[in-house]
Symmetry: C2
Subunit: 386 residues, 2 copies
């Protein structure tokens, strides 16, 4: 079924050989939910792994089953689009620790028959990538033409490049970083504390107890959402404009549009996301420290790599600012890796990678086309003239 | 008693004539708690009003009665210090809406004999300043040598300059803004939502019901605290260093120093601050929009002013960035006001105004000395040779 134009599937991995997590726990017979788009060619050389971000999932280019909304990368992935599903076989799996079908705190612990909750082992970006590699084994895909992703997706891409260089032709980390900064950790910690402060969280056991810590999760989403937008874009979108009123009310309602918008972001997130997953995924991001693993020498993560890199940042992204992407580029340069770098001028902040950004798309398109030609993708010429 | 070297007092204001608030409510016979330092000279020309910020209070240069810690501006205010109490008579009153003795949601509503709670009227920066002016009337001080304050204190200073120009020789707004931006409002709204999401908030009625919404208030403080520090200072202070451990624990404890620090900030704040006050004061800040009041022409707030201004910002302050101070300076220039401006190079972020910042102190000292000479402070020459 992997070759259906648009297919979703669930598979149990680690059946023969469990996945040994960085924390030491072995995860066996665990579900991974994924989507594919396009067809794998006979040479199996046109596979692209899209790595999703904290609040993303595998529904990149089709209707989301819970929200009924378009996929989060619908602008980029599809027939004739930048990641052209007429040409590429696109895979996106829900990350380990997620809440859309892959093993995570919301799933059933096969040993107890109950939800994992906080008994789920704390996972890392590397664990996520190992699970993705196991999925590729299952799909009998040896080599990825590309691993691409924004934000935490970019961390997975970097981890792929460091851990499985021989399986990766190209790597595109977008609006990302090779480690979480103190400020990144701080914002994540506020979100976690908001969730854990909600009495309905029940020490993580809310599923068994039939509650939902929606207030805490909404607060976590609200604070995170501020970090996804630049100050200029907030000013442009909302400024000090009032919400459905002509004067302030001298009260604590959402007088301002920006308040109403944030509240809406919080309340809709709760309908599609799991609070414990939020804890696990933010923790994985906080633990991410690629240079730390190589004693502070990030270049060592990529030594002798043959992967071609395209590193992209956005000028107004203050969550993972350009300086973080430059650090990656310098490390790649230090080991003479093949790397392109572009800082895209945009006032859309961190979320720019999800939005219509013509310059970003031009850079990415140029890189992908060049790499397809370089790696001799069989259908490349054909697709170009279709 | 106002002339004691260091004195604290409570006074009831609005006894003869109530304070008409911007929301329309009249506040009568309401308490204002304040501290004074130094002596008022016989000419009554050496009074400085220090305006405190969101989480500050009147204890600027003496031990705080609840925390036992030094005053928040102990570095700047005292004998022989920058704001020299041998020379100036320094006044700081707890703001309207505060929780250290001045009328606010924690105080008793004289009409009901119960705590105000959410029945307290929503107040504005202008209301705070009107209450301060009433305090000066009570102290029989017609003219302030200076109004000075950082952050929300700076907003009060600007409001003073706009509302009582004839009572103000000099104005020093530090790390402040003439209105709250969409991002400022957004962060405040997250804090308010965190408080109101705490079941112990009890719809604002927690005092009557004997609970304390400490979890919500701690979350609010944590997120605000991140905005007070710059990314570089967080990196310098904490980076990715672990807290009392040599490796991550693969759990949700405070593995990182920055997490531990934030949790501490949250939990200690709860011991000295009132959750409802936090709602009211952040609301006052969000409502602050001096140019809005003058149809978008900020200069009109200061037309014909004789006040001398010293506007100060810090290069790494991203909560009230330099561009906000420049907006104030441009407005003052547009009406040919007397204004000095300095952007202080510092990586301490917004909180720099509370810290040891030699360049900031040099600028402020130069301005104060010049102004004291210009306005012919009687004891000026004497103090200089003391």
């Amino acid at each position: 079924m992997e070759n259906d134009p648009e297919a979703q599937a669930n598979v149990f991995l680690g059946v023969q050989r469990p996945l040994r997590l960085e924390c030491g726990v072995e995860l066996k017979n665990f579900p991974v939910a994924y989507q594919t788009y396009g067809k794998l060619n006979t040479e199996k050389s046109n596979a692209i792994l899209v790595c999703h971000a904290l609040s993303g999932d595998q529904y990149i280019a089709n209707t989301h089953p819970l929200t009924g909304k378009l996929g989060w990368w619908e602008l980029v992935v599809g027939p004739g689009k930048l990641l052209d599903t007429d040409k590429y076989f696109i895979i996106c799996s829900n990350i380990l620790g997620g809440c859309m079908g892959t093993a995570g705190p919301r799933e059933i612990n096969p040993d107890t028959g109950k939800c994992w909750g906080l008994d789920f082992p704390v996972i890392t970006i590397r664990d996520m990538v190992h699970a993705q590699a196991m999925l590729l084994d299952h799909l009998q895909i040896e080599t990825l033409f590309c691993a691409i992703g924004g934000s935490m997706g970019g961390m997975q891409v970097l981890e792929w490049a460091a851990t499985y260089p021989e399986r990766l032709c190209t790597a595109v980390p977008i609006a990302s970083a090779s480690h979480h900064s103190a400020q990144n950790i701080a914002f994540d910690e506020v979100g976690r504390q908001a969730i854990m402060a909600d009495p309905d969280w029940r020490g993580g056991n809310y599923q068994e107890e039939g509650t939902i810590p929606y207030r805490g999760l909404a607060i976590a989403r609200m604070v995170a959402h501020i970090t996804y937008l630049s100050e200029p874009s907030l000013q442009r979108k909302f400024g000090r404009r009032l919400q459905d009123r002509t004067a302030v009310t001298f009260g604590f309602d959402a007088d301002f549009q920006v308040e109403s918008y944030l509240r809406h972001q919080g309340s809709t997130f709760v309908d599609r996301f799991d609070a414990n997953s939020y804890l696990y995924i933010t923790r994985a991001m906080d633990y991410f420290d690629l240079e730390g693993r190589y004693n502070g020498v990030l270049g060592d993560a990529f030594r002798n790599t043959k992967t071609r890199f395209c590193v992209i940042s956005f000028s107004s992204d203050w969550l993972y600012p350009t300086v973080e992407s430059r650090r990656i580029v310098h490390a790649l340069n230090s080991v003479a890796a093949n790397v392109s770098f572009a800082e895209i001028e945009s006032d859309n902040g961190h979320d720019a990678f999800l939005l219509e950004e013509p310059e970003f798309w031009r850079v990415l398109s140029g890189f992908m086309d060049g790499a397809a030609e370089h790696f001799g993708l069989p259908n490349y010429a054909l697709s170009k003239t279709d």
